[in-house]
Subunit: 311 residues, 2 copies
């Protein structure tokens, strides 16, 4: 990746905001995203094209994508799309990356996307057809994100073979890449190594791109270390740890962007992200959501004395 | 190790209790330790032989050691000793393991132990002489613990060469083993791999025994993963994350025993510790210290649905 070792993909504006009651005004979202871009974030998931009645917090996603694209042409603007209808809206708005979630747990899939696996595959096919109709240079990146990949609060353990088979199916249908999500904070470092390696073996390491980890049981950054060991270079995180999954009971807490960036930079891995800039973005988030809890150890403890950022 | 893969060494009764204002009654300490032993803990640091006026919370350490040894002959009873005087008291009480802290940061050493490195080495020599006078079978284990090994809130970065030299000196003087302490929560996984490997190379892996990590910046368990990778098999932790270092400003939060044991067992590493038993011990701690904050993600989130403990 251009000048960086690890891509930290900020999902707070989507995963964070969809999980809380207050609806952040569009102007506040844009101010927050501006600050994140100023801090050096290169990819931000800015919203989700789901019906407004389901997630009113993200009803302005189309407007947010358009505004952000206009203000930050260099930013990789990602959005979540649950189906082909959402993908059409994402294409119309000009998103750079579409992520479609597929729950390894079919129970969770029905509750979260209200679709069976077969129905999700039909949507994937429709989206691939939509994308294929676009000229080469105009096609956004299309990721299939296997959620509850490490276990499910509704089904419990999820067989590794099931996740591998779903990843293969997504690639076979035409997804550019597959990500794995620990929706419920069930993953442990040994499992991360095993599952990522298995999926890399099945679809190719270049297609097994990212990990979306939660810190529900405090293992978020430990799982990042395991992911780094097996070659993962993209990690989702949320500023202040906002978010989780509103449809997975007990699931809460994306890994905290501030802590993730601190760990990576301390390890000598370049993220391109400035920790002071992240603190400024956090202040904007804090002001916009005065009553929401924000998490993070580094924001509380501060940087080590004499801490040197990676060159 | 007998039937386990990783030794979790509980330091709450020492490192935890020395860091808080309330003085836990001896009977409450014993009830808590009984519950920890019932949960499967094999090594517990039950106190510190420091002057009572410095740490009144631990003034009953001699009595605690005697009672615990009488109640739990199989338990490895560890104590902290700052000097030869403390070691004499530890021997008189019948402790199984003596740990002498040596701060890599001489500034921290003066503030914490009120001694220079040279003065600490004199104490180490005196303790080695005391131990040598004992019959073979009666000698407790003697560990030199290099604190602020990963950085210091007073001096900042600590050169790796300095830590390695101190470890070599401790072994040369007669310490059985050396542990490394991240007193201020400065460590990162890459640094843990580097420093542990360097110390192992200097004194032998069999003498580089344990890591004492803090979660000040949220990297505690990530650092455990790095330690496991380079062969560390003993990790200190504190139930509820009680503790830190009262003489290192900003340092707080040992890694949480509950979260550590969960991670290790989830990874398939046997600790011999029962998570339900830990919950019972936590309830006793909670009742004894009703006003102290207790930490831990797993105690809040609970175990994953269908979680299977390692065989």
């Amino acid at each position: 990746m251009d000048g960086i070792d690890v891509l930290v993909s900020e999902v707070g504006p989507r995963d964070g905001l969809q999980s809380i009651a207050p609806i952040m005004p569009t102007a506040a979202k844009l101010a927050w995203i501006d600050a994140l871009v100023a801090a050096g974030l290169r990819e931000i998931e800015v919203g989700s094209f789901v019906p407004a009645q389901l997630l009113p917090q993200l009803a302005d996603t189309g407007e947010v994508v358009r505004s952000v694209k206009a203000r930050h042409p260099g930013l990789h603007v990602a959005v979540l799309v649950p189906n082909a209808k959402g993908a059409e809206a994402a294409l119309a708005a000009g998103a750079d990356k579409l992520t479609l979630p597929l729950s390894a747990s079919e129970t969770h899939s029905r509750k979260n996307l209200r679709r069976t696996h077969a129905q999700v595959f039909e949507e994937v096919q429709r989206i691939v057809d939509l994308l294929s109709a676009l000229p080469e240079g105009k096609r956004p990146q299309f990721e299939g994100a296997v959620s509850t990949a490490f276990g499910c609060t509704l089904e419990g353990a999820v067989p590794q073979s099931k996740v591998v088979a779903l990843a293969e199916k997504l690639v076979a249908l035409g997804c550019d890449e597959v990500g794995l999500s620990d929706t419920s904070g069930y993953a442990n470092p040994a499992q991360v190594r095993r599952l990522v390696t298995a999926v890399q073996g099945a679809i190719g390491a270049e297609r097994m791109t990212g990990l979306h980890l939660h810190n529900t049981r405090g293992l978020g950054l430990a799982n990042v270390v395991a992911g780094l060991e097996v070659g993962v270079t993209t990690f989702d995180s949320s500023q202040g740890g906002l978010g989780g999954c509103p449809f997975a009971p007990g699931a809460s807490g994306n890994i905290v962007t501030e802590d993730l960036v601190f760990m990576l930079e301390a390890m000598g891995l370049r993220t391109g992200i400035d920790l002071d800039g992240l603190a400024r973005a956090r202040a904007i988030l804090r002001a916009a959501l005065p009553d929401e809890p924000l998490y993070g150890f580094v924001p509380d403890a501060g940087l080590p004395l004499g801490f040197e950022r990676a060159a």
